[in-house]
């Protein structure tokens, strides 16, 4: 397994007092806690800090950790043969398939009691929260997610090991950005009769080349020629259910929103959001002589759209 320098993770000396360790943890936890932090990699950073504090705040775990000696971060090593026994482990202790975090989670901790004994106490399985990104098309039609998770589990001898945990979840139509889903019992296995943990999915929508979603409503940029905007037109616009014809009223201006009721994303219990086509008048970058002439003619007849600049303040 690879060695993790817990003192370096907290930014303290090896001889730091319990109080200094607590202060360092609090400072870093406030900075990186994933529920409050926008720092890049906050979740991974917080995990490192919490793992280090979980071991160093407990005098027995800290003594066991210190007995491993000081090593470079990431160095491959195996604990000395007597290490587990000297620090309260049992003779069956094995270091196969165990990573450094698992090693210290095997101490009593929340299971009660010191040392490596798992005891017979009822332990709920671990809950997991997993962010998942789905496309707007999947949100519209519904989708089945196949997640390949990995869980930490104890075998019958109490050894901790990582096991694959594939989960298939059917997401009905209507999930939107920020929707949370709970899959009861699909987290880590409970021990000694404890309930199995839950799996939480935090849905977000992938950016789409055409639509911008807000809740169940969709927004779509709708390019129009000056003539279509001025005279009105019927144009075909895409929607997640397929193209529809939209009537553009004469005198449409840029930025005007044309609402297609019920053409947004479906709501999980019936109904649907709206699709808003946002008019964008597109002027040709190059004009030929005839076009130039026609625009000049139009310009001569056009009312001044900046009249209000001259009005009193």
């Amino acid at each position: 397994m690879k060695f993790t320098d817990y003192y370096a993770a907290l930014g303290v000396e090896r001889g730091a007092s319990a109080e200094d360790i607590k202060k360092a943890y609090r400072r870093l936890a406030q900075k990186y806690h994933p529920d409050v932090s926008k720092e890049p990699d906050a979740e991974a950073k917080f995990k490192e800090v919490a793992e280090a504090y979980g071991t160093l705040k407990d005098p027995e775990k800290r003594a066991a950790y210190d007995a491993l000696g000081s090593r470079p971060q990431g160095e491959e090593f195996r604990p000395p043969p007597d290490w587990a026994r000297e620090h309260g482990g049992n003779e069956q202790f094995s270091f196969d398939d165990v990573d450094f975090a698992d090693l210290f989670s095997r101490f009593g901790g929340r299971a009660g009691g010191a040392g490596f004994s798992t005891g017979n106490r009822e332990m709920p399985g671990q809950d997991f929260e997993v962010p998942v990104e789905i496309s707007i098309e999947d949100a519209f039609k519904g989708t089945t997610l196949e997640l390949n998770l990995s869980l930490t589990e104890r075998d019958p001898a109490g050894r901790v090991r990582r096991v694959p945990h594939p989960v298939k979840a059917r997401i009905a139509p209507g999930a939107v950005d920020g929707q949370r889903l709970r899959l009861p019992g699909k987290g880590g296995k409970g021990a000694n009769g404890g309930r199995d943990g839950d799996l939480y999915l935090d849905i977000s929508l992938k950016p789409h080349r055409l639509y911008r979603a807000t809740d169940h409503d969709l927004y779509l940029d709708l390019p129009l020629t000056p003539a279509e905007a001025a005279l009105g037109a019927a144009v075909e616009v895409p929607t997640p259910a397929g193209p529809v014809s939209l009537r553009i009223p004469a005198g449409t201006s840029s930025g005007q929103k044309l609402r297609l009721g019920g053409r947004g994303l479906p709501k999980p219990r019936g109904g649907a959001g709206d699709l808003f086509a946002v008019a964008q008048i597109v002027v040709p970058a190059k004009l030929d002589e005839r076009e130039r002439e026609l625009y000049r003619e139009l310009g001569d007849k056009a009312a001044n759209p900046r009249r209000h600049f001259a009005e009193g303040t």
């Binding site: 936890a29 594939p166 298939k168 911008r212």
Partner: protein, 104 residues
Amino acid sequence: MTFESEVMWLDEHRAVTLQELIEISGLPELELLELVHAGAIPALETAQGYTFSARVVTVARTACRLRDDLELDVHGLGVALRLLERVSDLEAEIVRLRAQLPRA
């Protein structure tokens, strides 16, 4: 083996009881009730006791993590939850306004 699972939508259309919220969130009952009384966790009081929108499950689980990881007391938790709710509302407003802006 891969298995298809029951999926519970955590939204306002589903209600959870106080007991369910305690079990799911991991918050002790007294602290959860203090947060409810302080208005940091919205609840509906009925003759049968408190019921909650399933949307609150996420809030209560966040409260439990903040309590355990940052060692916050219930008053600090109440303030943190209110501020997080304001941040979340503001972020939703930004998304809503950005969606209305034409792409550059």
